[in-house]
């Protein structure tokens, strides 16, 4: 395929993925927005008013970046996991496999589509948060870079999960038993300074901690960890996961007998 054809096929993949989550917006865009609104009301407003400040910032403002990031992570991941597995289940993945599209275009299309949903939901949650607090964007470029990279990383993760999945249950195991605990323990609702020293060290191995804090630094200008290290870690994870997903796709793992 020449460059123009590659771009057309990538664009087609992305449009197809975006069309899918927009078509079922009551399942994909509305629920996370409602859930996050509940977090803002209950944790931010009701409980947060008794918690007071964290690092000199109101509790409501403190948790907003973490909640936005939580939405981006779960939605990027679940979009690709569910979309690609549905394609496997309905066998429409064969439409892509018989075409001359290279595997990196297939992977890229799903990943960009997943990131689009993650970022879309993230934007909705951000807009909702403005009803509850005021956000000063301290480092706009850094904020954008972190959220986009995180969305891409978890989209790739969702793709790998869907490749390996054999039944629908398999695409909900990781979000429920891995992503949700890591996100809750990744400093969304608290600063790790509040933890005993031992648990602070344990928390440092949680990759989501770095993403949440880098994003919080971009918006609020405060972080529990060095931001440059977080950026390098996210970029490294993206490269490793991308290569792994592409290698699996090239070998036909989970899709070719």
């Amino acid at each position: 395929m020449n460059t123009r054809q590659l771009l057309i096929s990538l664009w087609t993949m992305v449009v197809k993925e975006v069309r899918r989550f927009v078509r079922i917006w009551p399942q994909t865009l509305v629920p996370p927005s409602i859930t996050m609104t509940m977090y803002f009301i209950i944790f931010g407003n009701l409980i947060g008013s008794r918690v007071g400040e964290m690092h000199g910032i109101s509790y409501m403002s403190y948790i907003v970046p973490g909640l936005i990031m939580m939405s981006v992570i779960t939605n990027s991941y679940s979009n690709v996991a569910s979309s690609f597995f549905s394609n496997k289940f309905q066998r429409s993945v064969e439409e892509m496999m018989v075409s001359p599209m290279p595997n990196w275009v297939i992977l890229g299309g799903f990943v960009i589509g997943g990131a689009a949903r993650g970022l879309g939901v993230g934007l909705i949650v951000t807009l909702v948060s403005l009803f509850f607090t005021h956000l000063d964007l301290h480092h706009p470029f850094l904020t954008l870079m972190v959220v986009v990279m995180t969305a891409l990383l978890f989209s790739i993760g969702g793709f790998i999960n869907a490749l390996l999945a054999k039944k629908f249950d398999d695409i909900s195991i990781i979000p429920i038993f891995v992503l949700t605990p890591l996100t809750y323990l990744g400093g969304v609702f608290y600063s790790i300074d509040l933890l005993p020293e031992f648990w602070q060290k344990v928390t440092m191995v949680n990759p989501i901690l770095y993403m949440v804090n880098a994003f919080r630094y971009g918006i609020l200008g405060i972080s529990d960890i060095p931001v440059s290290g977080a950026l390098i870690a996210i970029a490294a994870f993206i490269v490793v996961f991308w290569c792994l997903a592409l290698w699996m796709l090239n070998r036909g793992k989970g899709i070719r007998s």
Binding site: M97, P100, R256
Partner: protein, 325 residues
Amino acid sequence: MAEPALSIRGLTKVYGNGFEALKGIDLDVEQGDFFALLGPNGAGKSTTLGIVCSLVQKSAGQVKIFGIDIDHDFAKAKYNLGVVPQEFNFSQFEKVEDIILTQAGYYGMPMKEAKPRCERLLKDLGLWDKRNGAARMLSGGMKRRLMIARALIHRPRLLILDEPTAGVDIELRRSMWEYMRRINEEEGTSIILTTHYLEEAESLCRNIAIINRGEIIKNTSMRGLLTELDTETFLLDLAEPLEAAPQVEGFEVERVDSHQLALSVRKGTDLNDAFQQLTRQGVRVLSMRNRANRLEELFVSMTSPPDAGSGIDSATSTPAKETAS
């Protein structure tokens, strides 16, 4: 000489559980051919076509599509290939038109080129009115036609039809045959057809290969194959009931029921002779038809296990109730 549309050499497939689905088959399909690949369930047809379409990984062997080795440039080879699979393999929730235009996009076809092509295909296949509906709302026959339109959107030179008329009613099946004939004859598209309707293969295809237990057991022209048929069986509908099958010298006669006889006729035998003998015995024949499709008779005799007997009986849809000769 033009490269074959499809050339297969020594193609082998051994699945993870050790099952050898293909045992080093060789096959050529010439450009412009309408080719039947037949075989019983599990014979290796779908595995062969799956390898050609990149849905199955081969264990060994070489596959060339219009001279392009799939191991060297599969993407280029795939441009020449359109596939209509046995199972529905599109998103049931997408709109009909979107499914076809998305497929065009996968081939890098610009929208301004894909749109009019899509419109023409949908109109040709009687789906234009359904273009804005979700694919799941289509009937089974319409879904099959949708897959044909999708396979043709990028103008493939080789079309693979894996049981394209399965579950389709007779009228629609015949209109689909007409369409396939047209794209083969007018547009020069080479077609490989697998089907369990042997009448379909006999009617449409010029050349045929029969695959059984992972091996090609016959690869010849349809005409050549049919001349190998030694015996044909006709069903005769009788005006009056018969208690027993009449004796007809030189023929094998079987009483199917009181109003029907099965008459087996060897190649080169004069059928008039049988009718004269029946007339002399006062047997009046009202109508006559083939008991089984000619190709079906051959197919069953070639693919039946040795101990299952060859024969017409296993091919027929009307079980014999009583035999007399």
